[in-house]
């Protein structure tokens, strides 16, 4: 109630403070702190190996980390935080579906981990099928789907239960332009329905189009953050560019290099 009156203070849905994660000697995430407020799309932008997936897996309490605190909806996130997990949807970087199950069954199975009521689940699965445009492929097996459709199935499996907080880890990698368009539109639709979204990518223009706020990661560290406009300003401003230095430049080089090959 208090929050509603005070419209400027939005609730932080996700708070990451001083997160540090090493794989043996290698530092993958280095003292990372950021927050995501309700209804926002946060973009985690960074080249391959910059620690995006590791950050997400730490937030989800899948990975052990050396240091830091994760709070979701104000509560600490642990492997046993089942009430929090109920409100979260995750689309992992790799397609994680069962080859033996049809499109419908895959979504139904993963949705069933969240929604036990059969009628409610049926409605949600249908809705998810419609959202990603797989309704007429419901009986297909994953191996009969093209790469783009498979990615869309992967997304449907992660969001069918209509989560309030959604993590998407590079959902558009190796996807044809039509499917990419559809996926980006889907994400906007999810945001319009009220979800808070953390979106990782190494495509500059995707993040620019989608995200309210962007964090640029490299070597597990934040090298820049802000709105699209702020970041553009940062790049334009030569003196600042020298301070932030070649790293930010590297990020863009990396990105453009990728784009040419696509």
């Amino acid at each position: 109630m208090k929050h509603k009156k005070n419209s400027t203070a939005k609730l932080n849905v996700l708070e990451v403070t001083h997160l540090t994660k090493n794989y043996r000697e290698q530092k993958a995430v280095d003292d990372l702190s950021f927050a995501v407020s309700e209804g926002e799309i946060l973009g985690l932008l960074g080249p391959n190996g910059s620690g995006k997936s590791t950050t997400i897996n730490c937030i989800l309490a899948l990975l052990k980390y050396q240091q830091g605190e994760i709070r979701i909806f104000g509560e600490p996130m642990t492997p046993a935080s089942y009430d929090l997990k109920r409100k979260i949807g995750v689309i992992f970087q790799e397609v994680a579906v069962f080859d033996e199950l049809s499109v419908y069954d895959n979504i139904d199975f993963f949705c069933g981990l969240y929604i036990t009521d059969a009628a409610e689940r049926k409605a949600k699965v249908e809705k998810a099928l419609q959202l990603v445009g797989l309704t007429k492929y419901r009986k297909y097996l994953p191996k009969q789907l093209s790469g783009g459709l498979l990615r869309r199935l992967n997304i449907a499996c992660g969001i069918a239960h209509e989560p309030e907080l959604i993590f998407l880890d590079e959902p558009t990698v190796a996807v044809d332009p039509q499917s990419r368009r559809r996926i980006l539109d889907n994400i906007k639709k999810l945001r319009d329905q009220g979800a808070t979204i953390v979106y990782t990518s190494h495509y500059m223009e995707e993040v620019e189009e989608l995200c309210d706020r962007i964090i640029i990661l490299d070597h597990g560290k934040i090298i820049a953050s802000g709105t699209t406009a702020e970041l553009k300003q940062l790049v334009k401003d030569r003196s600042v560019k020298q301070v932030v230095g070649p790293t930010l430049n590297d990020v863009f080089l990396e990105l453009t290099g990728r784009e040419l090959r696509d």
Binding site: N57, K85, L113, Y114
Partner: protein, 375 residues
Amino acid sequence: MFWQNFKYNLKLILRDRSLIFWTLAFPLIMALLFNLAFSNIENSEKFEPMAIAVVENAEWQKQEIFQKAFAALSAEGEEQLFHTEYLSETGAATALENEEITAYLEFQNGQPKITARENGINTTILKTVVERIGEQSQVVQEILRKNPAQLGELVRQEAPNLKDASRPHLSYTMVEYYTLIAMTCLYAGMISMTAVNRFLANMSLSGRRVAVSPTPKRWLILSGLSASYLVQVFGLALLFTFTIFGLKVDYGENFALVLLLSLVGCLAGTAFGVFVASSIRVSENAKTGLMIALSMFGCFLAGMMGITMKYVVDTNLPLLNQLNPANLITDGLYALYYYDVCERYWSNIITLVIITLVIICISIWNLRKEQYDNL
């Protein structure tokens, strides 16, 4: 929720063609092959009493227990085990040389000594009999005092492979079918391994989805295991149906106990799969390969490729076979078929249950982990 997951687990298992081949079809193919390969041998296989000699000297005169025991075991009848000649030491040696006897027994300084032409099954049986009589001499003496007529029976009970061999129609094929049942039981592990792998975040991508969901993985693992067990029990049912009605195999009078041991064996196999899934972090294909290799090796030691192997292991490395689930299943079924007393059957079942419980405990310990150093 359990049923929803159970239903999907069943679907996942039944649609995995290679899994279904190995667990349901392969045992049937093996049964057919055994049937073709052994049907000829079977007809000619009848146990002949084994020709042996005993060196009849002053030492032998002192061995009252052995004298009576060998007299009982050489008595003519359906279950006669030995054809014993009593000779001098040189006589026995000559008889062995001329291949009139397989082996001879001699006492030196109160210790039995067996001289044999070769180390075959027959020699093993003779050795076992002599050992058992020696070990049980106090019991034997006790019986001699009270009721000497019981001695033959005791020796037979105490020397298991002796009695197997002394059956008038020793069936090698039966042992092959028993190892096949054991193999089918252990193959349950392949299904359960695959099922559990699906729900472990550090083993599979689907496992990561489970890990971030509000459903604790133990419920998924439980439903996966129930489905695995059900499918492999169906596999056993197929094998029994095929061997009984198709190949006319007779599992003896205690079929209910045969089924009981098979069901327990299947549980052991299922547990074995969970163990492999939860303790070793390699690809699923590598795990499947490992499961097949281990199961087959266990069955080999239990006598799948010839019963001699079982005798050799039972005699030289008894512990190996006492801990080998394939052998526990085979041996239990074997005991059931050949003995009137089922003590050995029950002790095999109990060992199997204990091994299963231990494996399950280790697996639960391995599975308790929920947050990983890397994925």
